[in-house]
């Protein structure tokens, strides 16, 4: 099986967001960057599919700055075979421009399966995988928490509000991974050593600006200072009174 996994370098989920001097972006000073957590499920799924097939290739593709080589090395340490960095210092806010760059790179190879995380935990756009599928003319299923592949047919489960949707689709296809799809492995020392020697191709790209312009990045409204109502079960009466009379939510 020939599988491509598209990953993103994002600030760790513990990051405290500080707005940069331009008032439009994240101040990256002191921020720890990691592989987007949903992309870890995608990498793991690719590795398992290849292992199950007994042959094939897992290529990892990342659009990002030079430092994203480190993110790609993490995927290589997990077991991916090779990496491609589409190098751009700044990613456009417009996901369609991002998708065009990724689709242009993927187009030259015939993949059996292309995997993404269902969304990135920084911009919350949850669409790039689906956009890329449309640009490549491939079927796609998003936010998949369980995947079965039998020959050229895939059956995926997606969580929907109040249930699970079972979706059937033909391969080749694009699938975006949700939590629950698998348990991503940690890179072992041997994998980390091996990753250093695996091929990583760097290709500079230029993204268009698209139809979205960032005006400002601001901190969310602060919540009003709350208060401790009391201690133990004795405080419950007062809590209920406050919820009814002050907050008016009961």
């Amino acid at each position: 099986m020939k599988i491509a996994v598209c990953i993103k370098r994002v600030p760790d989920s513990e990051t405290r967001v500080k707005v940069a001097a331009d008032g439009k972006s994240l101040d990256e000073a002191g921020v720890k960057f990691v592989m987007n957590p949903y992309d870890e499920f995608a990498v793991e799924e690719a590795l398992r599919r290849k292992e199950k097939a007994g042959a094939g290739e897992v290529a990892v593709l990342c659009l990002g700055p030079a430092a994203a080589q480190e993110t790609i090395r993490t995927a290589l340490a997990m077991g991916a075979d090779r990496g491609i960095l589409l190098q751009a210092d700044k990613l456009p806010a417009d996901s369609f421009e991002v998708a065009k760059l990724i689709a242009a790179e993927l187009k030259s190879t015939s993949w059996d399966l292309i995997l993404f995380g269902r969304m990135a935990i920084d911009d919350y756009n949850h669409q790039v995988g689906t956009l890329v599928a449309e640009l490549l003319g491939l079927p796609s299923v998003s936010a998949v928490s369980h995947l079965e592949i039998e020959g050229a047919t895939g059956v995926a489960e997606r969580e929907i509000e109040g249930g699970i949707e079972v979706v059937e689709f033909p391969l080749p296809a694009v699938v975006t991974a949700d939590k629950g799809l698998n348990e991503p492995r940690y890179p072992a020392l041997k994998g980390i050593m091996a990753a250093k020697k695996k091929p990583l191709e760097v290709k500079p790209v230029q993204a268009g600006s698209g139809t979205l312009e960032v005006v400002a990045l601001t901190p969310p409204a602060e919540r009003k200072e709350g208060r401790i109502v009391g201690e133990g079960a004795a405080a419950v009466g007062e809590l209920v009174r406050l919820l009814r009379e002050e907050a008016k939510v009961l």
């Binding site: 969580e159 689709f169 939590k179 979205l212 919540r223 133990g232 079960a233 209920v240």
Partner: protein
């Protein structure tokens, strides 16, 4: 007045609550045409929506950012050659375009963007736009779908009757490691039950990763972002990625034995002490109100 296409969602022949949010927001932006479309054949539905969006001279196409909306909107957007402006929480017209606010970094910051795409493809974060009185009388047009797509919903396994999704509940009672073991979530389920079908039980990442609760129940940066009227955090210390997922709740109550837990910094009302004494007492009081 400019035209807006409102894409509504139905389940079992009935419009879902998010549909009323979509029509309310769409009518604020212009003259709204409401449509529904059978999404069983995903590609066929997306093609029908895109064809309508192209032919109708619309200024915007509005979805709800539900599981289905998040899958459909980018399919339609790609056919129109634009991105989805996803999960927005505020929108105003700005010249021929829109000025949109969307939470990023799981709500730790707000991004304001100017959208110039024609039509703009927008998805609204559920539970943010309050439906107005006129919304409930909306009569959507059913778009005909030409079968033949490759991606098909074969089956929907419904959650057990009476379980409400955390993303849609008006009241959420979430539990964390303080519950000590999975079986103890029963005390939270009883409290949820006391709210009479309005409440769902949520969970912190720690207990989902430990396998105590399903991922569908997880609230936080790698789970669901929720905005209920009342959020009760029980035995949750308040890691930053959890706070990110629930900080836009209208009212937050925290119950925790550690008075220094970060959750108390964000909570409107806190009760310090043993949750196994406090929660059953609260359940009793809520039952009295609803009984």
């Amino acid at each position: 007045m400019s035209k807006v296409l409102a894409v509504l969602e139905q389940r079992d022949g009935k419009l879902r609550k998010v549909s009323f949010e979509v029509i309310t927001a769409a009518r604020r932006l212009g003259d709204a045409d409401a449509v529904v479309c059978d999404a069983t054949d995903r590609e066929a539905c997306a093609a029908a929506l895109a064809a309508r969006a192209k032919s109708g001279g619309y200024r915007a196409v509005v979805f709800s950012a539900t599981a289905t909306g998040r899958d459909l909107a980018p399919r339609v957007a790609a056919k129109l050659g634009v991105a989805v402006v996803a999960d927005l929480t505020d929108i105003v017209a700005d010249g021929s375009g829109f000025l949109v606010t969307r939470p990023v970094y799981a709500g730790k910051a707000l991004l304001k963007v100017k959208v110039t795409a024609q039509p703009a493809v927008l998805s609204l974060r559920p539970n943010v736009f309050t439906p107005d009185a006129a919304a409930s009388s909306v009569k959507p047009e059913t778009l005909p779908v030409t079968a033949g797509g490759r991606v098909k919903v074969r089956e929907v396994k419904a959650a057990p009757a009476g379980t409400l999704d955390v993303a849609e509940a008006q009241v959420i009672i979430s539990g964390g490691r303080g519950l000590k073991e999975p079986a103890n979530f029963k005390v939270l389920e009883e409290l949820a039950h006391a709210f009479g079908g309005r409440a769902a039980v949520g969970a912190s990442r720690a207990v989902v990763d430990a396998g105590w609760r399903a991922h569908a129940d997880q609230v936080g940066q790698t789970g669901k972002t929720v905005s209920p009227s009342l959020y009760i955090a029980v035995g949750i210390s308040g890691a930053i990625q959890h706070l990110a997922g629930m900080r836009t709740s209208k009212v937050i109550v925290a119950i925790n034995k550690d008075k220094d837990a970060p959750i108390f910094k964000i909570a409107d009302y806190g009760v310090v002490g043993d949750l196994f004494e406090i929660v059953p007492k609260l359940t009793e009081e809520i039952r009295k109100l609803h009984g």
